[in-house]
Symmetry: C2
Subunit: 187 residues, 2 copies
Amino acid sequence: MENRKKQIVDLAIKLVQQKGYVGFSYDDISKQLGVTKASIHYHFEKKEDLGVVITERLSKSLQNSLLLIENSSVSAEEKLKQFIQQRAERFECTEICPISSLQADFESLPYIVQEKIKEVSRLELTIMKEIVAEAQTEKIISGSEDVQFLAVMILSSVKGALLYRRVLGDDVLVEVLNQLNRFLRSP
Amino acid sequence: MENRKKQIVDLAIKLVQQKGYVGFSYDDISKQLGVTKASIHYHFEKKEDLGVVITERLSKSLQNSLLLIENSSVSAEEKLKQFIQQRAERFECTEICPISSLQADFESLPYIVQEKIKEVSRLELTIMKEIVAEAQTEKIISGSEDVQFLAVMILSSVKGALLYRRVLGDDVLVEVLNQLNRFLRSP
DNA sequence: ACATTAACTTACTAATAGGTAAGTGTCAAG
DNA sequence: CTTGACACTTACCTATTAGTAAGTTAATGT
């Protein structure tokens, strides 16, 4: 089944969010799926191969988010809110952003996965910058601030809040998400 | 020598910043210090023990930063700038914030280290909130924004920028640091 | 009925991880 | 001169890791 491959990647991403790339093993996956470790190796010969497919999924997921937002005819403010929401609200409280997790493990990643996560990071920043720029022309955000700075700031706030949530509890994320919306709406 | 213990902790923190808690090993340390693995175990019996001492050093380092800033009779703006600078500029470009790194590895950490990193995270946020609050009373920062939100936002921006720097190059960090100063001075 | 393929399992590597027990050399105090 | 502590080394152990080779099973097409 092509389904099994999807199952493995889905679980692997969850494990990356929970324990990082270095921290998860083929044994974790095989036990949770009720098959042998060798069967995971059948679908993804090397951990590296699984790593590459994970990053490709993250890239596709980002591009999907962008398409959804671009084609919806809502205000720039709404687009910004939606994109931020999508970066945060699909995760459980033991999970952080998978991109952040791979960035944190960067130095331990196989070369190909490093290159892939570079791409994904660039893509995410580019998308965020586009949305911020649109919001600036519609005066949702103060036009005097630098686009790159605002993009990094907003993304980092959300990802940082996910890290804080896991160690300090739900409140931090909820408040950052609320205040971020308020902050972006005011001047 | 008590010096050797310091050497180990210093190196361990560097390794955490580079490869994370899960990613570094006693072998890494012993090889870089030119001694055997067993001699590292002599100083820190379990990796957990080393983990605890690492977090205690991070905590002391934070308290030190606070003391330095509190006792200097500079403006609230200058204090804010100094604290931000201290969170970022002592690291090489293969290194991220050690607190971020341990937060990212949270689910793989031994229980005691988890509790310690909770403490450190709370401490860092508290210090940042104090500095932000002081800056607000002196009108360096818009008084309408929530203190907790601003603290998370500023810290996350710096830590996020360190992550981005490692995968995308120096420019991101430099710009975020510059723009952060501009942002905090303006409205 | 036969061959092929996908999706496995069994049974194994070799390397590395954290960790330990027992011994060695050095040096200072009694 | 000896004791004892300190800072190690040698030589191990066990568990886990990624990875592989060879065999099994069930379904599919010819």
